[in-house]
Amino acid sequence: MITGILTGFGILLFAFVWQTSLDGINRKIVGRFQKRIGPKWYQQFRDIFKALSKTGVTHGWVFDFGVMMALGGIMATVMFLPVVGYSAFPGMDNFFIFVYLLAVGMLGMAMSSVGSGNPLAGIGVMRALTQMVGYEVPFMIVILGIIFGHNTSSLSELAAIQQASGIMTWNLVKMPIGTVVAYISLLGMLGKKPFETFIAPAEIASGPMVEYGGKQLGMLMIMHEFATFIEVTLFVTLFLGGATTLFGFIAKYFVVYILASLISNALARFKIDQVIKFYYKVPITLAIVQALMVVFLGWGV
């Protein structure tokens, strides 16, 4: 019990420190990408703590409560993640837990930002939920194929199955089409550039974040770091075979996240209707092809 709780807080601390540092490193890499020097690697920490040290305005209790619900929901989700074999609640890392718990945090943020009353926040939330409908369907088809093929939906068991004989049993090698689809969905989840429609700072003034300042903005930035950690860790566990060592985990995580960020900086932004049309044309077709291959031909099992 005590060790479980300590493990949970350890995972939380690791998630915050690692993802926030990586965001700083990422800003540095993007800076070099654009022929700039870029900020210090710990710039993201400074931004978060600065935001927490400012005063914040309130727009009523729904606004404040939603921020706490978002941060709390996301932190609870992180505690269920199995990271490098450590897990706060062993045996309870079913994939569907994450699907449901992630929604708590996201809905908290949606409630809070709509509670601010700003029309741009409403547009942003509407776009975020529409985009979620877009990427969830192909993503879930691929994941259900994996669960059908391996006969388990536990994340740690899926990781163990993939670790059986090195790189050849990773889902990346066995289901390459599904991996591509899941990566495109991951770009949508992270809000990276072709699917950045719901943030869009130049168009709808950063969408759901439009009315946040000071402490609430700091808490939402922490929430964003945790959400990114969950999404990238899910991808690493489901397709890159998880990791048995901390170094392996960090290396895989780094490659997945930095690649997403580089793609983001090379592309322009879709409109929301283009996002949905794209997701319902290309990735969903590929996802169905992958699922048919797994279910009827038994390839990649």
Partner: protein, 186 residues
């Protein structure tokens, strides 16, 4: 009794120092690009001078921003929006004014539609000289602002709180009517 008060004071001072370190090294800007000085900001932001290495970056809304940049002359209509934006920012907030137009009206000093001295209406922390200021001058001004935040000298927002009546009187004199409100909750 005195001991605990002293302790609390020390804690407050320590926390103040820490938060000033973070504030000085992470400045988010709200750019109000009214006049010609705004054209000097892209050079300061992109690869030639790279503002982000000082921890500065553009932000989309007044709520998120720390510093309001006023780039050039201000007509009366613009002044009204500037005041609304400044009142929305969360404290501590800073204000940087570009060029002579904000200082004494610049080349528009005799226009009926343009205000001459911005510091009658809002507290300015840093003026940046030049018409228009070169990117070097812009970066120098931002360095000055960072130094002032570190040395606890960027107190424009405190001055505004203390002398609010005086500022409000000037604003109403220029604009006639001023409605500061939360327009989404009426």
């Amino acid at each position: 009794m005195d001991n605990t008060v002293e302790k609390q004071e020390n804690i407050r001072k320590g926390w103040d120092g820490i938060s000033r370190f973070f504030r000085a090294n992470s400045i988010w800007m709200l750019m109000y690009c009214t006049g010609c000085c705004a054209i000097e900001l892209p050079q300061a932001m992109t690869s030639r001078y790279d503002m982000e290495r000082l921890g500065m970056g553009p932000m989309a809304t007044p709520r998120q921003a720390d510093v309001l940049l006023i780039t050039g002359y201000l007509s009366l209509k613009t002044l009204r929006r500037i005041i609304y934006a400044y009142e929305q920012m969360s404290t501590p907030k800073y204000l940087v004014a570009f060029g002579p137009c904000t200082l004494n009206g610049g080349i528009y000093y005799d226009s009926h539609a343009v205000i001459n001295r911005l510091d009658q209406y809002l507290p300015i922390d840093v003026y940046i000289a030049g018409c228009m200021p070169k990117p070097e001058a812009v970066m120098n001004g931002f360095n000055d602002l960072i130094g002032m935040i570190k040395r606890k000298e960027a107190n424009g927002w405190k001055k505004y709180e203390q002398n609010k009546d005086w500022y409000r009187k000037n604003q109403i004199q220029a604009l006639g009517e001023l409605r500061i409100k939360d327009e989404f909750h009426e």
